[in-house]
Symmetry: C2
Subunit: 222 residues, 2 copies
């Protein structure tokens, strides 16, 4: 019975996700859903990304957290419009569902944006199951988390379009096998594009930004 | 309706959790539920803990992961009996539920143990909601995850008995405010005991082991 209900919840979610997707298409906004474990460096990555893309594109951000507005406060310094969603107002959900994103969208004028970044709740399991209507799903994995998370949390790496390996500035201080990490990602998602970056030093940022630029242009030029 | 079902699931879980708890009492086993984000260093912490406690106590381990037996293989080297649970056989659950733990317990002779370590699925949200009958809940938070996770995932820090701040060997390379981290933990859980450790160098291990020793003795001596 529990599984029946989960299926119903996911089906209802897909209906709203499709409405969100139509909305992004109508307004020609490229929407990305950024997911990761807690503390992988998503917010720092997004701060730097907003700063670097600001001269070229107009961006808005939806930030999902169980609780607090810390991330929204950090991202607000970029000047981009931000909506913080706290899932503890929706039963403490461990993920963003499509209807939660839809209610956040109502607080924006989407015509003002080329890019909408949706920072999901820090969690490698549940957010992978919920389509929110995004154009692309991005998983961020900190190198401090070790090499084998892709095979331990395979759905996340299977559904995402690109992977970002973050915090590479810490590599000299870790026992980390880069080849193993990449092999694990490609074991669950053959050919998945991988960007190895440090949001702190901006090492490796160009590849990530180029992928974003191309994806945004493709969307806004229809 | 979704919330009604969640309540039912949690109520059913509590019934089985109580059975597990009675079972631990009957066999005088001290059971801990170790929770954290993915990649916080739980498995390395447990490898070292098993090695250090082996001369004094007999331990068994239940390892929960969505997928793979990597952690069980690592922990098996300690010589302790291990049962790996993969939640992808239970609908890909993002947490260990009491009935999943109960089925793992059937594969052990609990009279052989003083300590049972249950390594939960890497996730700071959902495992906090599921009582599995443990005597103590432990949250592990890597210093690489930043200071503010306790306020962003408050339920986890509220329900846990002790917190372990792990990977302190990386502190020289991080922008990390130790006082802020401790203040955030105590903001959601006043007086919570905190062990600051490196599983790699075993710095700070004595306090953690002493807490475990005292807790195990209290349980086995009734």
């Amino acid at each position: 019975m529990e599984i029946q209900v989960v299926k119903k919840v996911l089906d209802a979610n897909l209906t709203v996700a499709k409405q969100n997707r139509d909305r992004f298409s109508r307004h020609r906004v490229f929407a990305i859903n950024v997911m990761s474990s807690p503390g992988s460096g998503k917010t720092t990555l997004l701060e730097k990304t907003l700063a670097r893309l600001a001269p070229e594109f107009r961006a808005g951000v939806i930030v999902g957290d169980v609780s607090t507005t810390h991330d929204a406060e950090r991202l607000a310094r970029s000047g981009a419009p931000i909506v913080q969603v706290n899932t503890d107002e929706f039963g403490g959900d461990c993920h963003l569902a499509a209807h939660v994103v839809a209610s956040a969208l109502d607080r924006f004028d989407l015509d003002q944006f080329d890019l909408l970044i949706i920072e999901n709740v820090g969690n490698l399991v549940c957010p992978a199951e919920f389509d929110i209507g995004e154009d692309a799903k991005v998983v961020v994995l900190s190198v401090t988390e070790g090499e084998d998370k892709p095979v331990k949390y395979p759905l996340m790496f299977r559904v995402c379009d690109v992977a970002v390996l973050s915090k590479i500035d810490l590599l000299p201080y870790l026992d980390y096998n880069r080849n193993a990490a990449i092999a694990y990602i490609h074991q669950v998602h053959g050919g998945m594009p991988i960007f190895e970056i440090s949001a702190k030093t901006e090492a490796g940022f160009d590849g990530w930004l180029d992928w974003l630029r191309k994806s945004i242009r493709r969307k806004i030029e229809g």
